[in-house]
């Protein structure tokens, strides 16, 4: 296929589709447009994989002008939003973006035209696969979800078209963001994602939604400000527009020490978008939005843009103290967010904190910056996108079954909705247990982390906390009263197709981690860091040829005998689950010290003064030790201190 068309499909098609959706306000037609767009994006991304690395500059001279105009329109909209919402933070950070930008362009006469404008390398291809495939599945899911959502809210005038417009457009902006080589264009796509995010969070137009959207806007605008400062610094100190080429920065064309300050500013921008501590607030607030938004923000877009930028910049801070500090900021976020997740009682908030934690892990890996660490970070991006996308879609489905987001309300879901529970259980297990990809990537991260031992210790504490909150939640889902009789729920196609595709994805990518690695991650690592030695250093952790269950014929170096662990997993859980069903007469009521009401199956017991009461059980949440009120001041203080040290270290180098 022609490269012009491929780029157009990746970046512009979502916009066109969004406009069409906005025009045709009919449920079926709208759904059809979304499905076709989704398929086009998926096929297109696979073409990019087949095509391999490529550079591209669009023909015609008006693109730069269009982007400049749109940039100012977006920033003017932020000012308008700040004024109309009377949110001064939004206004201030909109002004801190537009004023320097205007001064830079009109005062200094900057004009940034670069060749190539886009560089599609392997890292970008991995990202576009994640964005196009997982993002598209979430859009398909949203068709039906928003229908149910509005049905539940009893809206008079449907706003689904508006919602899908922003949702689909998000994917185009993300594709542009990961392809862009010209920092000025990258900045433009960055702002589009911020705008989409703002619109989607505010979608329900409740007071809470609007407030949280405003918070997301000002925090990301703060990041945008750092981005602009970095661009101006590069422009002024490194001889004009040519310094704004991403490839130039990461290949060390400017000299590492000299470029360290703008790189640190760009990393800071990445931190804000990836909701690293202390900027976790906006992502948690984003939970008020309908679930597809959360799924999209957390899995394939928005926050992944943040980690992408840091991973992309990794070569620019290799071997410097900035790298160590980035590793510590990420590792501390991993620990802080995992600890806070234990105290959360709402499913979506647990997921949000878990996302923040995993993004911290990815950023920490980028900071550690050995080949193994970079490989771990890219694998984490892939695995996390699949698992977290699935988890959020599950959370949304559960919400539409029980109309609650509270973990305690999910008790006994295994009887009420066995299919959804099964999928959710797979999703939860895939987040933190062997043999699934997330854990294998985490394991690689830990092997790599010894280069920065403090980060390794933070990793270790955090991964223990991870076990607690996931197992606790899974425990609530599975806790049942036997013999109530169970009925398999029926899910609409728009729900079940994305769910099952993602479940299959988890197993395929998990079992096939070796080919996945060899096919694209390996090259992507090479894009980031010269990594011939990854296998030799990192992959010999399992002796080639020897596996837990079956001795394999000695494979080439680099084969990753992880599938035997899946055999173990299947033997341990799936086989008994599928084939060893108990007969009803083998099920008995539980032991309650003889205080049960009657000996039939009941959850009532005789309490004080011979009153009957229902048994009520709950998980431990440790609100007074790990709750947000108790922990946030500490966590935020440390996080801010780490950021200050980071910039202190960088300034120390620059001023030398």
């Amino acid at each position: 296929m022609d490269l012009n068309w491929m780029m157009a499909v990746a970046i512009l098609l979502p916009l066109v589709a969004g406009i069409l959706i906005f025009i045709f306000r009919h449920y079926q037609i709208r759904g059809l447009i979304v499905v076709i767009t989704a398929l086009a994006l998926i096929i297109n991304s696979i073409y990019f994989l087949k095509l391999g690395p490529v550079e591209y500059t669009p023909e015609g001279s008006n693109w730069g002008l269009a982007i400049t105009v749109l940039d100012y329109l977006i920033l003017l909209f932020y000012i308008y939003a700040g004024l109309s919402l009377r949110n001064w933070l939004v206004l201030i950070f909109a002004l801190t973006q537009i004023v320097p930008l205007a001064y830079w362009e009109f005062g200094m006469g900057a004009h940034v035209e670069l060749e190539p404008a886009f560089v599609v390398d392997h890292l970008a291809i991995v990202m576009t696969l994640v964005i196009s495939i997982i993002g598209s599945l979430i859009c398909i899911y949203a068709i039906r979800y928003m229908h149910d959502h509005e049905h539940h809210l009893h809206l008079e005038k449907s706003r689904q078209s508006r919602f899908l417009f922003w949702l689909v457009m998000f994917l185009g902006a993300m594709n542009g963001l990961v392809f862009a080589n010209n920092l000025y264009w990258l900045y433009f796509f960055w702002e589009v994602t911020t705008l989409c995010c703002f619109q989607l969070i505010a979608h329900d137009l409740t007071k809470e939604a609007i407030n949280n959207a405003a918070r997301a806007l000002w925090m990301n605008s703060l990041g945008g400000t750092a981005f602009i400062l970095a661009m101006i610094y590069l422009y002024v100190n490194h001889g004009g527009a040519d310094a704004l080429s991403m490839q130039n920065i990461i290949s060390g064309g400017l000299g590492q020490a000299a470029a360290l300050l703008p790189v640190a500013l760009l990393c800071f921008t990445g931190f804000t978008k990836a909701a690293q501590l202390p900027f976790q607030g906006w992502l948690l607030g984003a939970m008020v939005a309908p679930t597809p938004v959360s799924a999209l923000l957390h899995s394939s877009t928005m926050v992944k843009a943040g980690v992408y930028l840091v991973v992309r910049l990794a070569p620019a801070f290799a071997g410097s103290y900035l790298g160590v500090m980035v590793a510590l900021v990420g590792a501390f976020t991993f620990l802080g967010a995992s600890g806070l997740a234990i105290s959360q009682t709402t499913g979506k908030r647990v997921l949000a904190y878990s996302t923040i934690a995993n993004l911290g892990l990815i950023i920490a890996c980028a900071g550690i910056n050995t080949p193994l660490a970079i490989a771990a970070s890219i694998l984490l991006i892939i695995f996390h996108a699949i698992s977290k996308g699935l988890m959020f879609l599950c959370a949304g489905t559960i919400e539409h079954i029980i109309w609650s987001r509270e973990i305690e309300d999910m008790e006994g879901l295994a009887e009420k909705a066995p299919v959804t529970t099964f999928i959710t259980a797979i999703g939860i297990l895939s987040m933190f247990l062997p043999p699934f990809g997330m854990l294998l990537a985490k394991w690689m991260a830990l092997e790599a982390a010894y280069a920065v031992p403090l980060a390794a210790i933070l990793f270790v504490l955090a991964s223990a906390a991870t076990i607690v909150f996931w197992a606790k939640w899974l425990g609530r889902l599975l806790q049942v009263l036997p013999r109530l009789g169970r009925k398999f729920e029926s899910l609409s196609l728009s729900y079940s197709v994305p769910l099952w595709v993602l479940v299959i994805g988890i197993f395929v990518v998990g079992i096939g981690v070796a080919p996945v690695y060899e096919k694209f991650v390996h090259f992507a690592v090479n894009n980031v860091i010269a990594a011939e030695q990854v296998f030799a250093e990192g992959w010999n952790v399992l002796v080639p040829g020897v596996s837990a269950v079956t001795p394999l014929p000695a494979p080439a170096v680099g084969a990753y005998p992880v599938w035997p662990l899946f055999v173990v997993f299947g033997v341990a859980l799936l086989l008994p689950f599928l084939f060893l069903a108990l007969k009803p007469q083998e099920l008995r009521p539980v032991y309650m010290c003889g205080e049960q009401v009657g000996d039939t199956d009941t959850d009532e017991w005789v309490t004080a003064a011979d009153q009957k009461a229902k048994v009520q059980l709950g998980g431990y949440y440790f609100q007074n030790v790990l709750g947000e009120a108790a922990l946030n001041p500490w966590v935020n203080t440390v996080a801010i201190a780490l950021l200050l040290i980071l910039f202190g270290v960088v300034l120390g180098v620059v001023l030398q």
Binding site: G412, A414, L433, P434, L439, W443, L446, E447, Y450, P453, A456, I457, V460, L461, S463, A464, A465, I467, V468, A471, K472, L474, G475, R476, L478, Q479, V480, L481, P482, V541, L542, V543, V546, A548, V549, T550, P551, L565, V568, V571, A572, L573, L575, P576, F577, L580, A581, L582, E586, L587, R588, V590, Y591, M592, C593, D603, V615, L617, G619, Y620
Partner: protein, 286 residues
């Protein structure tokens, strides 16, 4: 020898050793308490009797997780005897623990439920120490492979003794001995009933027993790694550690779950972190 046969022999022999250790445990504990105690092979009698009982469960999912507990524990053991990656072994052990806790969660029973919640707290206590142990071994050997430990002439204990002490604390938690018999206990306690194991009976309870035997040997095996050359010294150290646990079990009273987390983090983690920091600094100096 073919790794397959090593693994198979280990899977068959280890429960016999584990059962005998459990018998010794009961005997010594009885003597410490001024009782005569059962014969050393009593655990096997119990095991076969339990196996012969009819299947009864309180939840459909419960027994699935018990199989998971057993199978993943065996996988851990295979990792140990084939001298594979110790970090992955710790993660697999984590899965075994999670399976057990989920088994406790899967029926609506107050006793098994608080047992399961406490089991998670136990994991929170011991998991970081085990992971840091792996990291400490990496700091010494430059590899997470257990086979590398056997290639060293100097025992790990010489440089990793703080981690070894932390590991002894963890061993008490893992073996469910006082003062850490929090989620369930081997002794009768009316306030616990049987904690997380309350809802298991017959063959399912037998499976738990079997898993515990694997676990004893696995943990003692990890301790023996600290003196891997010659291995018999390591095994003697492991047995001494086991006897020590029995004494601690009989002289200590059960503490609360919160105390356990604080204690193991304060003592275990600090020891591990200092140990690793020391190794790292020495490496930097040399």
């Amino acid at each position: 020898m073919n790794p397959f046969w090593i693994a198979l022999i280990a899977v068959i022999v280890v429960p016999i050793i584990g059962g005998l250790l459990a018998g010794i445990d009961r005997k010594i504990t009885a003597r410490l308490q001024g009782r005569w105690g059962p014969p050393i092979v009593q655990p096997f009698f119990d095991f076969f009797k339990l196996l012969g009982k009819s299947r009864i469960a309180t939840s459909r999912m419960q027994f699935v997780w018990i199989y998971g507990y057993l199978v993943f524990m065996i996988a851990c053991l295979v990792f140990l005897v084939l001298k594979l990656d110790i970090l992955l072994l710790v993660f697999l052990l984590g899965f075994a623990g999670v399976s057990f806790a989920l088994g406790g969660f899967s029926c609506k029973s107050p006793y098994s439920h608080f047992g399961a919640n406490r089991e998670l707290l136990q994991m929170l206590s011991y998991e970081p120490v085990l992971l840091l142990m792996a990291l400490g071994i990496y700091a010494q050997n430059g590899s997470f492979m257990i086979s590398e430990i056997f290639n060293r002439s100097e025992p790990l204990l010489a440089s990793l003794w703080p981690i070894f002490i932390a590991l002894l604390v963890i061993l008490t938690i893992k073996l469910r001995k006082s003062p850490f018999d929090i989620s369930t206990s081997h002794h009768a306690h009316q306030e616990l009933v049987k904690g997380i194991m309350t809802e298991y009976s017959g063959p399912y309870y037998a499976l738990i027993q079997l898993t515990e035997w694997y676990e004893i040997v696995l943990l003692l095996g990890i301790i023996a790694l600290f003196w891997a050359n010659p291995l018999w010294v390591g095994i003697l150290i492991a047995l001494a550690a086991f006897i020590l646990e029995l004494f601690i079990d009989n002289i200590a009273a059960r503490m609360t779950a919160g105390w356990m987390v604080r204690f193991s983090w304060a003592i275990g983690l600090v020891l591990c972190v200092l140990n690793i920091a020391y190794l790292y600094l020495m490496k930097g100096v040399s």
